[in-house]
Symmetry: C2
């Protein structure tokens, strides 16, 4: 039996978030519909944040509303950062809510103008509201492996934070390599320690390919026992401070690698490639995904075929 890996598609949230031009609501809805047709079962669809801070997500309600007829086996996660966001997410019919904070004081302050301790207090408060509605919660821990102000972290840095969250009843955690600094041995060691200490935790990895280590870090996660990965169609969603660098790990590239290795993702790679190519046209720039350029390893040429010189 093939081992199952669950991918969470983040293209319309983490992917689109830093796109400078507003992407029309209709396109977002249409893309998500076709991602679902390509086999995507989990998505971080949008974020319920103030449109002043993230104008790209100003249509969060409209996107959710346009997809209210989604299949029952598809899970929509949405990001909320405060009470208003949680209320909006609940009203919009989210299936799960994602909260987030950073390990790094500096990074956390820059993102939320709160200390880590204040962010945790806030999350503790928000958890109660989501629990009242019986909405499952995932907590994303940004800069879990390091941050560009403080450097690379040992597992000991993130583990006490997971301990606090699990004490509050959280059973799904997303360790995020927000700025693509983590290396494979670090990912493996951290995930092994986390899964050993919290055996009942649902552990997700949110990896970026900023420094070319994304796929290697997926392998490291798999070796540690992680089976849930966030990724973005075409690999979009970089850092504002690394122009030209790769973004999130690329959905179709990672699915291609996993399927070659015998893992089951339930995704249709050809459909994903079609969507990635279309997105490249839509955003009018070369996107990081490789499979859409090179084809799958299983795409064979006839004997008569000659490469262009």
């Amino acid at each position: 039996m093939r081992k199952q890996v669950t991918m969470t598609e983040v293209v319309t949230r983490d992917g689109f978030q830093i796109e400078p031009g507003f992407i029309e609501t209709e396109y977002k809805i249409s893309l998500i519909r076709r991602l679902i047709e390509a086999g995507v079962k989990r998505l971080e669809v949008t974020s319920f944040v103030h449109p002043i801070y993230v104008p790209q997500m100003k249509d969060a309600e409209a996107v959710m509303c346009g997809l209210s007829d989604r299949p029952n086996d598809v899970t929509f996660c949405t990001l909320a950062l405060n009470e208003k966001g949680v209320e909006r997410a609940i009203a919009a019919g989210t299936d799960e809510i994602n909260f987030t904070f950073s390990v790094s004081e500096t990074h956390n302050r820059k993102n939320s103008r709160r200390s880590v301790s204040e962010s945790l207090d806030n999350i503790r408060f928000l958890i109660r509201r989501a629990e009242e509605e019986k909405i499952p919660i995932n907590v994303g821990i940004a800069t879990s492996f390091g941050c560009p102000f403080e450097g690379i972290y040992k597992p000991e840095r993130v583990i006490p934070l997971i301990e606090r969250l699990t004490d509050w009843g959280i059973n799904s955690i997303i360790l995020a390599d927000t700025t693509g600094m983590a290396h494979p041995l670090q990912v493996k060691e951290t995930c092994q320690q986390v899964l050993k200490q919290f055996p009942n935790l649902t552990l997700h990895l949110h990896l970026h390919n900023t420094r070319g280590m994304g796929a290697a870090n997926v392998m490291a996660g798999l070796e540690a026992g992680v089976t849930r990965f966030d990724s973005s169609l075409a690999g979009i969603g970089g850092c504002p401070f690394a122009p030209g660098a790769s973004g999130n790990i690329c959905t179709e590239d990672i699915v291609h690698m996993l399927e070659l290795m015998g893992y089951e993702t339930e995704m249709n790679i050809d459909k994903l490639i079609t969507l990635a190519k279309e997105l490249e046209g839509k955003l009018e720039k070369t996107l990081p995904g490789q499979i859409m350029k090179a084809g799958k390893s299983s795409d064979l040429h006839s004997n008569e075929w000659q490469p262009a010189r």
Copy 2:
């Protein structure tokens, strides 16, 4: 003690080979000099092939001559495909000679207009000449993991070929994922089987990042016990049939990953990044390397720093 990994720099051979415009001899020489200053100890410098087939390598003698004062601890490998090439390589003072053939009949015929069996006969003949001069030989096995005409190979496909080569006295083999089709489990399994069956073999991996699996395949090789990898500055050297796809695994990106994990490469990453950026200017196009765009994981920002919005 940090575990040693030896990188062989192939930018001026596999990297430049498919560049359409001729790169001046002076630039090639200057780049190799500065790669050596950056810590590079092994290079595949050039190939002694007919200039009609590979015009970019028409200055093979001139490049070697311009670097005849190289340090003693630096090894220059050069590629030769026939007797004339071997004589030219010897006359030019090569330190080691690389021969090559493909596992794939189709790929081998397209590259050399010979069957695999004819190529092996040819290599067996060439080995004698190199041995007379006591010049160490490496044999590169192209499409070791699969080819775009025949698909992905099991280890059983390449092992009998290694057996024949070792019977002929070859003790250094380069397994090449020429078209970037290999996946990490395959690389690990193949290398484990090869190293088990041929424990005295010096095994090199020549990996491409065509489908985004390059760094993951390096990890797989390391886990199998491989400590020698070919790579190209800035990740250049793609396939003519995958335009826009990544080329060879990128020297500075892989060195960055290895050093983060505690391996010793003896390379100066900052110098490599400087050279990669310069090469990007020289070739007037965006090159695949990520570290030159994103910076190293250890490059820290001050607290005052704000990302561009």
